[in-house]
Symmetry: C2
């Protein structure tokens, strides 16, 4: 850590973790399981929280770079009942390598593979409710290769100029937290090179 | 749009929205409701998706700036069963103004109010599953004012030097997508000023 270690300051001492007294499944559907968690904090406070268990598989999101563009898709999102602009993404199959999954998802969703894949980050999503995480991958040196996916309709491919990457933030349909993070992380990585 | 309008290119024509045939609640708990949505895409493909309805309240996340620091907290997140480093956040009360909510959450979680509050963005979170969104607010010109919140234990305050903001990305417990987005959005805003 050396000189810069704000995390070690007296104000940021870490708590002792709460003790989990009981976990039970309180509701279940085809895709989700809801657990109720009864726990006691180190100061004696008792709480009952709820959390969601999806299928427990890892997810991957890919920022594909092709010449002067980054490639995005428009895909239907049922909870907002509208189309969302974002990067290709999908679930990692059991025993599948994360970069293999990234390449497969790209082939299924935009019809390209990549010769160069770089992990930028691994993000969580509302960890009070979800345990799942998503790995963000930059894809370069693309080649055409289409695989059949399980999409209900062909996805709309949206090439976006790298020179105007930040203009994506002004699009009304580009505002999902993982997409916004991936955009910034990709720019940070590309600019530092 | 003028010269720069990649969204208007022929490759990015938008689809006609799928038609929702039926929505039903398939599971329910104290906090969540799971809906099954039967829909038909414009090409005739039929799908049954699931989505989650939380309490439907808006959420707010605040990036507080105090002198040369930004202020973060460490809070327990039950789905990952660990403490998470992130910005103060919380739910907006019914009929509560979003900036009033931002100020209240700050007072409850870190003991400060702010004389200047600026909306940076409104982010969604996995809109295939959730309809909820979170407004990201920058807070400046802080003053001491503590309100009692519903936290089970005092939150650990972590002041972080603005000069090393991006070092947060190297912390093992700072990796939630909305926190990462908020960090970049705050830096962008502060740098452009």
């Amino acid at each position: 850590m050396g000189i810069f270690s704000p995390g070690a300051s007296p104000m940021s001492k870490t708590h002792q973790k709460p003790k989990i007294l009981n976990v039970e499944t309180v509701a279940r559907s085809r895709m989700f399981r809801i657990q109720s968690v009864n726990l006691i904090f180190s100061n004696g406070e008792n709480r009952v929280y709820e959390r969601l268990l999806p299928e427990g598989r890892q997810a991957v999101m890919i920022v594909p770079v092709m010449n002067d563009n980054i490639l995005l898709i428009r895909e239907y999102a049922v909870a907002i009942e509208d189309y969302e602009l974002g990067f290709p993404k999908g679930l990692v199959e059991p025993d599948e390598d994360i970069l293999v999954a990234a390449n497969r998802e790209m082939m299924e969703e935009i019809g390209y593979g990549a010769r160069k894949l770089t992990v930028l980050s691994k993000l969580t999503l509302a960890p009070s409710y979800f345990a799942s995480s998503m790995t963000i991958v930059l894809a370069e040196d693309l080649y055409e290769h289409r695989l059949e996916g399980d999409e209900p309709e062909p996805l709309t491919l949206v090439p976006w100029p790298r020179s105007h990457m930040m203009k994506l933030l002004e699009q009304h349909d580009f505002n999902e937290a993982r997409n916004v993070s991936a955009l910034f992380l990709a720019r940070e990585y590309l600019n530092q090179r």
